[in-house]
Symmetry: C2
Subunit: 144 residues, 2 copies
DNA sequence: CCTTGACCTTACCATGATGGGAAGCCCTAC
DNA sequence: GTAGGGCTTCCCATCATGGTAAGGTCAAGG
């Protein structure tokens, strides 16, 4: 199987397959006499594993650890669970951060009339000024 | 005020102040005779605006638009609100994606005994195999 | 046999926002 | 005058992915 077929069978782009090989996430594939990469069904299985791990948000580094555990018949499931739990915590932390942003933004957007007039509590918040506060004295951007 | 003092007063690192200047987010600062960057209180105000926008998750591109609106006395608050609303939608989409990941991961982690035995529903999910399914025939990683 | 088009190869560049470091100049205090 | 800290520019790294260019290969068909 060529890289294009392995890509189609796994859902991982050819570009990424080569990259994963380059960084050592997967072993270098076999090659034809003309230097084409050749993949087996087992290789595709590995690629699908990576694809699934990525879709669950695991980094390539975590994916590498999970692959190693998958391959290790002596693994303890606690080790796998630890990777997953740590990732869950990371996701929840990031979700919390973004939810805080959303909360603030929704409040500001709610307070903004969103009409043709210039007064805007969103800008006032960003500027750190109260309503009717000062405008920037000097035009602050590149085209000012 | 030197760049270090502007950094301290705004919370934006000197590195980032130079970068913002380079990409045109802020105008090139004044310079001393010996080429040191010089900042005014107004410049610091702009930097604090950027800092606050970034902390609410706005991209630098969105921040540039917000800065331009801030500076524009003729702005319509609807334009500001549109930027914020679009950003809120983006955040909520990403939150939803991550929550879906968390949901799946928590389910898998809950089903994983997390003990010294190798059987693990997390790996089974990633591998696309049911319980007791096949292990990879060929060691899949670089050190296999 | 030769062409055509699809596929493969490597190599380099780009993203977004930030940090790190090197080499060299400047400024202040002692 | 020197030491230490701050400033300058320039280059590199991150993380995961996409794009593109220049060139080799392969299969089908004239």
């Amino acid at each position: 199987m060529n890289i294009g077929q392995a890509s189609g069978a796994s859902g991982v782009s050819a570009k990424m397959i080569r990259y994963y090989e380059e960084i050592g996430l997967i072993r270098p594939s076999a090659r034809t006499a003309t230097n084409y990469r050749v993949y087996s069904d087992g290789d595709v299985h590995v690629l699908r594993f990576i694809k699934r791990a990525r879709s669950l948000g695991f980094s390539l580094e975590e994916t590498e650890r999970l692959l190693a555990l998958w391959q290790d018949r002596e693994r303890e499931s606690s080790a796998v669970k630890a990777v997953a739990t740590s990732h869950i915590e990371d996701l929840e932390r990031r979700i919390g951060e973004m939810q805080a942003m959303v909360k603030t933004l929704k409040h500001l957007a709610h307070c903004c009339s969103g009409n043709a007039r210039p007064d805007c509590p969103i800008l006032e918040d960003l500027a750190g000024t109260g309503p009717g506060g000062p405008e920037p004295v000097v035009a602050p951007t590149k085209d000012g």
